[in-house]
């Protein structure tokens, strides 16, 4: 190896940490956030930015359309194509590819709903809002929000950590066709749950299936930080295969956020798995390729997932609300409170 080669190698080795750092997920998100902010007019910037401790903006999310619960921030519809693309890039960098796909399918579903409702101006992809609480930073806490009808993503970023709780994913229609392809934004949430339910033996089912109706989310919007007494079948009463199915089901929510944050979250969920409960209410069957009409809940020490089909619209299998929480760490409070 001659001297110049050695120099090049040495330079590369020295640059490695810098490159690695530049490519860390948080660094990537911050870079994309600053790039998005740079595309904005001063007035727009003022509207998209909130103080990190703005608790009103923090909780300004809902399953309901914007007309009913007025969001703040900037709507996609008022952005230029360049701004919109920067916002989309920012969102994509904060999510996993599968998570981003799910979110896009929910947003496009609202566009389908708009079409189905004679172009109802209450709905559509233009009515999703982006907002930033605090200053995008690789060290100090800040928050990225994206949501509208049937969607609320609250991503608190603290250093390398990314907290997605509380977040709401929902879908109406829960099944639609786009470019000849069938799309089910929350299809896996239903199919994996039925697979788990069907794997249970009769004794396990007797525990898991509640004998009462649960008509709606118990810990929906506005119920931050609350922990209800769990019920159903405990994961300790499941075999390894069933536990793996449960974890795989949970990953439909915990895996929405970008991979390294999702991995940390999954480790936390696994550590509490023995104290995690699976409860089911309603019909135990569903048509192949369609959602069911049953409610279910997964609850662990740091986890609440609820899946609640809605009767509104006539077909509960086509209108689904879900909530994803960590009652111990909603909005990353565990990381940000001193």
């Amino acid at each position: 190896m001659n001297a110049s080669m050695r120099t090049v190698c040495l330079a590369l080795i020295c640059a490695l940490p810098v490159v690695a750092r530049a490519q860390s997920p948080t660094a990537r998100i911050v870079r994309n956030a600053n790039a998005f902010l740079a595309t904005l007019e001063p007035a727009q910037k003022q509207r998209v930015l909130f103080a990190f401790d703005d608790d009103k903006q923090r909780v300004r999310w809902s399953n309901l359309p914007n007309r009913m619960v007025q969001r703040a921030g900037l709507s996609m519809g008022e952005l230029t194509p360049a701004q919109r693309s920067a916002a989309t890039k920012l969102l994509a960098s904060a999510l996993s590819p599968r998570g981003f796909e799910k979110v896009q399918q929910i947003v496009e579903g609202d566009e389908v709903l708009k079409r189905n409702e004679n172009n109802n101006p209450m709905f559509g992809r233009d009515l999703f809002f982006v907002s930033i609480l605090g200053t995008p930073s690789e060290t100090a806490p800040w928050m990225l929000q994206f949501g509208g009808h049937h969607l609320a993503l609250n991503i608190t970023i603290v250093g390398a950590q990314g907290v997605l709780t509380p977040s709401l994913t929902a879908a109406q229609p829960a099944l639609y066709t786009e470019n000849g392809k069938t799309v089910r934004p929350l299809g896996a949430e239903s199919d994996k749950a039925f697979a788990l339910l069907n794997s249970l033996d009769s004794a396990q089912r007797a525990k898991a299936i509640l004998n009462y109706r649960v008509a709606d989310l118990v810990l929906g919007p506005g119920q931050d930080g609350k922990t209800i007494q769990p019920e159903g079948l405990k994961a300790t009463s499941m075999n390894e295969g069933q536990r793996a199915m449960l974890v795989d089901l949970i990953a439909e929510w915990s895996g929405i956020v970008h991979e390294s944050a999702a991995a940390a979250r999954m480790a936390e969920i696994m550590s509490g798995l023995n104290d995690t409960w699976f409860a089911w209410s309603g019909s135990t069957t569903h048509a192949e390729g369609h959602a069911g009409t049953a409610y279910y809940r997964i609850q662990g020490p740091a986890l609440v997932i609820e899946y609640a089909p809605q009767p509104l619209g006539g077909d509960p299998t086509n209108h689904i609300h879900t909530i994803y929480r960590d009652p111990t760490n909603d909005y990353g409070r565990k990381l940000t409170s001193k």
Binding site: M122, F123, L210, Y212, V214, T227, Q229, P311, L312, G313
Partner: protein
């Protein structure tokens, strides 16, 4: 007025036909029940969907003017309260409205209105294992009920099995309240472990009661001040000797214990009921009497008898702390026993920490000023309490006493230092020196 409601309803109906994108045709009534120590809180969130709003508004807006006046809001809350029922161990409890919040009418009209009502109910003292039943009958025809128990903030309270009717109108759950400073278990279904936990809880409560009960402590200490001395011709005289001093101390403490144990047991089992106002005044008086006696002997040789008599008074005060804890005679006995053992343990601890120094000092000339100062302080504190408790006067002394008591270890250390200094003088400073000498 009528017309405005009609217009409102028509408007709502026209709106409802468009806004069919979420749950509108039901009145969601979500209850979250928080069990705390001796208290149940019911958080009720009522969300009328747009399609049932007219049905709900007809109940709230009784004069139909389209405005929900404060009176209408309160009347509605009372209506809801009557439609709820809460029972613990089969006993109906009365719910009290603690917060009431109505959304804007504009929000209500869009089916966003969340009416917030929080109720509280006091739970009578009972056993460890309890059953709570909550029922909601409000507007059943349009209601969707959700009823859940919140995980208690208090780790000593645990929720057990839950049962609900299919529509969740009726919700029953079991819970246990094991606790370190609470009553003993009810005999039925209480495990030996929880019985033991309850017993030791009472022991701790007894210790706590003495450690925090400055007046009881002060009485005891002031009463012990002259114990090592012999009364001679109406004055406190020489050191009576270690053996005699210790024996007298023991007799006084034992008599006090017998006295307060008797009334504690009697009052706790409901045999006697002393009015606590008078008891508190008598306790302050007992300190004053002891303080006077510590300055000049007024009942020499009969300290044990007086200690027993005042013990009876102090026992009545102890009893108020544990009144109602006993479920049945057996548990009353256990409760009294546990509490009393706690009192004794703390008394012994305080005696062990102070008596050796008092006995040591009593042999020196330093003891007379110490005794008079101690008794004087006790008398001043007692007078403050008497004024406060008997005549409702402001008591500037009380906070000072509490502040001093909170530095108990420091006071004991000062006492020990004084005793050691006096001892050193006695041993190493020659007779006739102007310092402390052996009496």
């Amino acid at each position: 007025m009528r017309r405005s409601l009609t217009v409102t309803v028509a408007l709502l109906l026209s709106f409802a036909t468009r806004a069919d994108a979420h749950q509108l045709d039901e009145y969601v009534q979500a209850s979250k029940i928080a069990v705390a120590r001796d208290l149940v809180r019911v958080e009720l969130r009522l969300t009328p969907g747009v399609k049932v709003l007219s049905r709900v508004l007809a109940v709230i807006d009784t004069n139909g003017d389209g405005i929900l006046s404060p009176v209408e809001q309160r009347t509605y809350a009372e209506r809801v309260r009557r439609d709820l029922s809460l029972a613990v161990d089969g006993r109906l409890l009365s719910l009290r409205l603690v917060t009431l919040g109505f959304p804007d009418m504009a929000d209500m009209k869009e089916g966003l209105g969340e009416i917030r009502m929080d109720f509280e109910a006091a739970v009578p003292v009972g056993g460890v294992d309890r059953t709570l039943t909550f029922e909601n009958q409000h507007l059943r025809d349009v209601a969707v009920y959700l009823a859940n128990a919140l995980v208690p903030q208090d780790s000593a309270i645990r929720i057990g099995a839950q049962r609900r009717s299919y529509e969740q109108a009726s919700f029953t759950f079991e819970y246990s309240q094991t606790d370190s400073s609470r009553p003993l278990a009810r005999a039925t279904g209480a495990s030996p472990a929880s019985e033991a936990a309850g017993y030791f809880g009472m022991v701790r409560l007894g210790m706590h009661h003495i450690a925090e009960g400055t007046d009881h402590l002060l009485f005891l200490l002031v009463l012990l001040l002259p114990a090592p001395l012999a009364a001679v011709a109406g004055r406190w005289g020489r050191y009576a000797g270690a053996r005699q001093g210790a024996a007298r101390l023991l007799r006084i403490v034992t008599s006090f214990t017998i006295g307060h144990s008797l009334t504690l047991a009697a009052a706790a089992s409901g045999v006697v009921r002393a009015p606590s106002g008078i008891v508190e005044v008598l306790i302050a008086l007992s300190i004053l009497v002891s303080a006077v006696h510590a300055m000049r002997p007024i009942f020499p040789g009969r300290e044990a008898l007086v200690a027993a008599g005042f013990g009876l008074v102090h026992g009545c005060a102890f009893a108020t702390t544990i009144a109602g804890y006993g479920i049945d005679p057996w548990h009353t006995v256990l409760t009294v026993l546990g509490f009393n053992v706690g009192i004794e343990l703390m008394q012994v601890a305080i005696l062990v920490a102070t008596v050796p120094w008092l006995l040591s000092l009593a042999r020196t000339t330093a003891y007379a000023p110490l005794r008079v100062c101690g008794a004087g302080a006790g008398a001043v504190a007692a007078l403050g309490w008497i004024g406060e408790r008997a005549f409702g006067m402001a008591n500037p002394i009380g906070p000072l006493v509490d502040a001093a008591a909170s530095h108990g270890p420091l006071l004991i250390a000062a006492l020990a230092a004084t005793a050691l200094l006096a001892e050193w003088r006695v041993r190493f400073v020659p007779r006739g020196s102007p310092f402390v000498t052996r009496r």
